[in-house]
């Protein structure tokens, strides 16, 4: 193979994944059966939201427990004075410690490998190596949460003047490094993930959407496109068209239909609605591109000519 050909092949291999749009977040994850699942790394905002939900749940639980303890005391006929305060203090000190240490570990050890917050955001914890997620890894990643979140929090709540104030400020900065750690690496790893060898990925539940080529709306056979008209676009444009059709926004469809009609010089059937036209063109284009794919050529986009 000549060098130029090799370079071209390498370039094609690089551009090969069809998920061009979100390629930066996709990670190769090959199952033992040899299929790449292309997992998507969870973004910083999703992770933060999941954590906020979890902390909300923890605080709510503690409030409920404190109230229960107070009611129980009142039920025993004791005053709510000093003893009440004491009970609430114990609930918060001990409860928060137990909860924050066992809530995360407990949920991440279950089959879903996600806390309720992560569940809601459609995330889960996996082992970076692709092996099984072990209990040790889950424990290690959560023990470091202490350093990343709760230590900066104690510094923030600390009060001091002069030298003490300076120490507190330095503490906030030093621990802040760990808090912001996920923003500075491409896998969005917390220090805990780094130590435990874990990764948080998106694992959403998806419903099977209807096949747009199955029931072309209106009268599909009225529109028959020539090969030249179908060769105007590639896979990338097909996927954009798919998104437009699935979102079914009238104005976007009108704009897109106008563009396509102009590009392929479509003059027939002026009474055809935009949606019908787009659905028919989608089916035609997909059929044409899939046909070419079967013969070994995946046409990346409209600039890709062979």
């Amino acid at each position: 193979m000549s060098r130029a050909a090799a370079q071209r092949a390498a370039a094609r291999a690089k551009a090969a994944p069809p998920m061009d749009v979100r390629a930066s977040d996709a990670r190769a994850f090959v199952t033992p059966e040899g299929v790449d699942l292309r997992l998507r790394v969870a973004g910083a905002a999703e992770r933060a939201s999941a954590f906020a939900i979890d902390v909300g749940i923890l605080v709510l639980t503690l409030v409920v427990f404190s109230l229960l303890a107070l009611f129980a005391l009142a039920g025993l006929g004791r005053g709510a004075g000093r003893q009440g305060q004491e009970i609430v203090a114990i609930v918060w000190l001990l409860g928060f410690f137990l909860l924050r240490n066992f809530y995360f570990v407990g949920f991440e050890l279950r089959p879903r490998a996600a806390t309720p917050g992560k569940r809601i955001m459609g995330l889960r914890v996996i082992a970076r190596s692709g092996e099984r997620l072990t209990a040790d890894a889950v424990f290690a990643r959560n023990a470091l949460r202490e350093l990343e979140v709760f230590l900066p929090a104690t510094f923030l709540f600390a009060r001091g003047r002069g030298v003490d104030g300076l120490v507190i400020l330095l503490g906030v900065i030093w621990t802040g490094v760990f808090l912001l750690f996920p923003l500075f690496n491409r896998d969005r790893l917390r220090a805990g993930d780094l130590i435990a060898g874990t990764l948080v990925v998106a694992s959403p539940k998806k419903l099977l959407p209807p096949d747009l080529a199955e029931r072309p709306l209106g009268a599909p056979d009225a529109a028959v496109f020539t090969q030249a008209q179908l060769d105007a676009y590639g896979v990338k444009e097909l996927h954009v068209l798919e998104e437009v059709l699935r979102s079914a926004d009238r104005r976007t469809m009108a704009a897109v239909a106008t563009r396509i009609r102009a590009k392929i010089g479509w003059t027939e059937g002026p009474d055809m609605t935009d949606r019908t036209f787009l659905a028919a063109y989608y089916k035609g284009l997909r059929g044409r591109l899939e046909h070419r794919m079967l013969f070994g050529h995946r046409r990346k986009d409209k600039h890709d000519r062979v």
Partner: protein, 330 residues
Amino acid sequence: MAELQLKSNRFRIEREADWRRLEVLLEKVEQKSPRRLTTKELLEVPLLYRSALASLSTARSISLDQGLIDYLEALCTRAYFLVYGARTSLPDRLGRFFSEDWPGAVRALGRETLAATLLGVLGAVAAYWAVSVNPDWFYAMVPEGLSGGRNPTATTESLRKTLEGAGPDGLSVFATFLFTHNAQVAVTAFALGFALGLPTAFLLLTNGAMLGAFLALFISHGLGVEAIGWLMIHGVTELFAVTLAGAAGFSIGWAVAFPGARTRMAAASRAGRRAGTVMAGVVIMLFVAGLLEGFGRQLIQNTGARYAIAAASALVWGAYFYMPRRRRAP
């Protein structure tokens, strides 16, 4: 007719039922538990998973329906984690943890444990000496909130009272605070090991210093024997736990500083997993220490009995971790 129906569409129609079936089973497992599946359903899962994977491969090479491919990727990912997920049941896993993993991980950290112990002892000795020479050093070693009124200005009588466990009001809050404080020290000592182990060393030193300062205070009032009994009934377990946590922190710091043949990341995560095992055990030890502190110390007032419990706990932990044992056949 071939023109009217795309090949990729026919492919989807043929296999859709299998995918839906897999989805139903996954839903059942994720909402409830794997035990809710019947044997027949359980046997069905791996077959459906492999056929879904095959469908995904095929779909990627023949279909341009992005919605379908996204769906199959999500479905296969969910099924993958079920099929290759946890194999052992929780009781099995716990059994292995107590019989092999935990003592094994602790033994593997022998060098670090020695270093952590030396640091703690060094802190204690230095603080003991400093406070004996000048009692004012006590305030520098022990934070106000932790001393609970035990400071150089206290009378011998009031100090003796604190040892009997009939302390002032709010003692339960104080005990809880101490427990969470010590657990905090342990977890932080581990977590900070990441930064090359330096903060861990500092924490171990200060923790030892606190102990030394307390001892110096009580011994100067002639209460040394009673104070050691009061401290060590739970302190043996607790200090051992803090030392192990520090050792776990050191092992990570060491791996980060000197990763050897591995990459720094790989070395850190390897050390981190072993240290994670140790830390899971440390939390259990701290819990035991909390029980001893909360109940044992209040109920057992006899100094001799306190020494006996301290010695027994030292023996039990030492034998559990370090006694040579037969390897179980793999």
